[in-house]
Amino acid sequence: MLILECPHCGIRAEETELAPGGEAHLKRFGPGSSDQEFEDYMFARKNPKGVHFERWRHAYGCGKWFIAARCTATLEVFGTYPAQTAAPPQHIIDAVKTRRPGWEGYK
């Protein structure tokens, strides 16, 4: 069972309280962008086997969106932070790097 701490209300929420929302930090493309950019934004996904950043909503709690750094190969959780963050914050990057020294960093 996945347990994520909601960075907004501080509750350690288990999975049934949460709604998954897919890959985080997608760069949005809209009118005026190329077909390729739009396709990538809509459909191409990193889908890594390893460190992954993804959106979650504390659906049956405070209702707010946040982002979790998680390992898809082991289900280990590295940390969570509010969704109003453009890129993974330093303390999360550090937390991942201590657990995964070989990690190439956020790309």
Binding site: T16, G22, F43, R45, N47, K49, E54, T72
Partner: protein, 415 residues
């Protein structure tokens, strides 16, 4: 390859079964092949088989990191049907179903295909309309399905409760030709037939890199060394994103866990397959008597072949309402597979940015039923370098062009 037959059984019975040969060889890899297929699941093995059978290409290796059929092919609930809404889907799934009908004879291997009939329950008015539409679409596609009322459902499935408090049974989409087959046997049967044609099935050998030069693949790096190839087929389901990354491109695919479970064996009580998509559950009875049960995928990216327990609870909660008698059953085993979900929930059988590299993936929660048709279409793509009519609509380009094959509206759940 010595053929299996009633005479073979008699002969072996007379000599204490000492004459059975191994079903397939375990060769060391050669330096290079005409075609290398990555992934010895049903789709990879079927691709190799039809490359040999339909195109005479037998200098082929199928490379598998674990054991053949050990991925989703050996983990699924074996439902076979072709009652899809969209024309390209109906075409390829129905091709697969008609190949399944003769597969045991074709492969000389009993895949235990059991066309016992399949019901998709309608439990909301929305579903009634949806399935009526599918019946009409299927009739236009030449796929025989029919709409049946609740009484007929009860007649076909005596253990069902048609007056459920939340979701009464309002009718069902019925495909008489649908059913199940033995999942391992499908992989084993194809593997044996491939091996008999001289193809190499190389197990315990993981592909770790894809080498290319000037936009063409030259070979793959594996845990058993470099293996050269003139053409490469990537058929690795949940690991498609990973192997595609080795080849330098991205896919509209996400990998998630899908679980299934079986009960203790009980006497025969249900001789059709029943799917209940509103409540996300489906059930059939295996030849051993176990009730085989599945539901929907977990919602997040996952490579662990382990799903979340509450999804199983949800599935069972829903099924108990529809089949009250299963509430006392003990569940024996539960497991997960990593399914490859595309943006429109339809598969990819496609060219890639590398000229001689082809991909077959995205079958997600429902690709067991497609194995023969998918292998047939993929073999044509690999052999000719261009897709035939079955594969053409399933190219990656559809995501750029907005030409989706949106089956999620028709069956967005596990199937």
């Amino acid at each position: 390859m010595r053929r299996y037959s009633v005479f073979a059984i008699a002969r072996e019975a007379m000599r204490h079964h000492t004459g059975w040969e191994r079903a397939w060889a375990s060769p060391e890899p050669r330096a290079s092949y005409d075609v290398v297929i990555v992934g010895a699941g049903g789709h990879g093995l079927a691709t190799a088989y039809y490359l040999g059978k339909n195109f005479g290409i037998t200098n082929v290796a199928v490379i598998e990191k674990g054991w053949l059929g050990g991925g989703n092919t050996g983990r699924n609930t074996t439902i076979i049907r072709s009652n899809y809404l969209q024309d390209p889907s109906a075409a390829i799934y129905d091709k697969a179903l008609s190949l399944y009908e003769n597969l045991s004879q074709d492969l000389n291997y009993n895949v235990m295909f059991s066309p016992r009939g399949l019901l998709m329950l309608a439990q909301t008015h929305h579903e009634v309309r949806g399935y009526l539409r599918t019946v009409h679409a299927n009739n236009l596609q030449g796929v025989k399905t029919e709409w049946i009322g609740p009484e007929k459902v009860k007649e076909l499935v005596p253990i069902i409760n048609i007056h459920g408090p939340r979701y009464p049974i309002l009718g069902a989409l019925y495909q008489e030709r649908g059913g199940t087959a033995r999942h391992d046997a499908v992989a084993w049967g194809y593997a044996r037939a491939c091996s008999a044609m001289g193809m190499h099935i190389i197990q315990q050998c993981e592909v770790t890199g894809v080498r290319s030069e000037g936009g063409q693949v030259t070979g793959v790096d594996t845990t058993k060394g470099h293996i050269g190839c003139k053409k490469l087929g990537i058929v690795v389901a949940g690991h498609s994103g990973q192997v595609a990354a080795m080849a330098g491109f991205r896919l509209p695919v996400e990998s998630m866990a899908l679980q299934a479970l079986v009960s203790e064996p009980i006497k025969p009580c249900m001789d059709v397959v029943v799917m209940a998509n509103t409540v996300h559950g489906y059930m059939s009875q295996s030849d051993k008597g176990e009730m085989v049960i599945g539901g929907g995928t977990d919602g997040f990216n996952n490579y662990t072949q382990r799903g979340s327990f509450h999804h199983i609870e949800e599935t069972l909660r829903a099924l108990i309402e529809t089949f009250p008698m299963i509430s006392r059953l003990k569940m024996l085993r539960q497991w997960g597979g990593i399914v490859d979900m595309t943006g429109d929930r339809s598969p990819l059988i496609s060219k890639t940015p590398l000229g001689n590299c082809f991909i077959n993936c995205g079958w997600g929660t429902g690709g067991f039923k497609a194995i023969p048709g998918s292998g047939w279409a993929m073999a044509e793509l690999v052999a000719k370098g261009e897709p035939g009519p079955l594969a053409a609509e399933f190219s990656i380009d559809r995501f750029k062009e907005g030409r989706f094959i949106d089956e999620s509206v028709a069956a967005g759940v596990a199937h």
